[in-house]
């Protein structure tokens, strides 16, 4: 039983770490601000969630689990709001997204020169 929980927790931590590193690579690799936000989204939702669930499996104390749940809820609750706020501020201040469509080649060439 204990071993099973240990293994599950390890798997959760592993998946979480992998997702976080993927997000970290994404934030460096993606071409512009808006796409980078998607990469951050990966680390903030499932990455953080998996790591916190992995920690929850390791603890026995109900208070600690409660606090971890609180951290998780706050992460899921706050981060989309913060991301939205950020994206909104960016677009209102005239930061143009790089778009994949044909009609927007103009913006793409402009921003790729950065």
């Amino acid at each position: 039983m204990d071993v099973a929980i240990e293994i599950m927790s390890a798997i959760c931590l592993l998946i979480g770490s992998f997702l976080c590193i993927s997000g970290g690579v994404g934030i460096l690799r993606f071409p512009d601000f808006y796409t980078r936000m998607h990469a951050v989204g990966v680390t903030d939702t499932l990455g953080a969630g998996m790591i916190l669930i992995g920690l929850m499996l390791q603890s026995q104390d109900i208070l600690i689990i409660a606090k971890l749940v609180m951290v998780l809820l706050m992460t899921l609750f706050i981060n989309p709001t913060a991301s939205h706020a950020l994206a909104k501020a960016a677009i209102h201040n005239g930061l143009k997204p790089v778009l994949g469509n044909k009609e927007c080649n103009h913006t793409e060439s402009e921003s790729s020169s950065r």
Binding site: F30, P31, G41, V42, T45, M70
Partner: protein, 156 residues
């Protein structure tokens, strides 16, 4: 008044789960703190139907699990895009319609959109939500309107 009671109950739960000390002194300090917070929240005018989500709770869990499933799928797709590189993505900006009547509903919808990686709510004006998406698939998934429908179910 109803909302204040809900807030009181959630705050009590929050305090007890955080504290873990049940001596008389701590409990009375906790009660005092909760009352002080309630008073300040009342002064700030933040206790109303928008901030207390109790009235939409019965359908929330099923929505939550559905969202969790979507979340995992979306994460996998974005991670795939990250490792495949820039040529695999085609970012797009689009507008979808939010059919929720209340502000809370729209906010839940908009936040659900942002929460699933691959789509970000950039702006919310009236009932039009501007979404930035990482690839066309994300937009197509959004335009089927399933998330919209489910959020409407939860709120109304």
């Amino acid at each position: 008044m109803r909302h204040a009671i809900y807030l009181f109950l959630t705050l009590t739960a929050f305090w007890l789960l955080n504290s873990g000390h049940f001596s008389a002194l701590m409990l009375s300090l906790g009660l005092g703190s909760i009352l002080l917070v309630l008073f300040i929240a009342h002064r700030m005018d933040v206790v109303d139907h928008e901030s207390q989500l109790v009235h939409l709770s019965p359908k929330l869990p099923s929505y939550f699990f559905w969202l969790l499933k979507e979340l995992i799928l979306a994460n996998i797709s974005v991670v795939k895009h990250i490792w495949l590189g820039n040529h695999s993505i085609s970012p797009a900006l689009t507008t979808v319609k939010a059919s929720q009547k209340t502000d809370v509903g729209k906010v839940i919808y908009a936040n659900s959109i942002t929460l699933t990686p691959g789509t970000i709510t950039v702006d919310l004006v009236g009932d039009r939500i501007t979404v930035h998406a990482l690839s066309q698939d994300n937009i197509q998934a959004l335009e089927t309107g399933e998330m919209d429908r489910r959020v409407s179910q939860v709120v109304n």
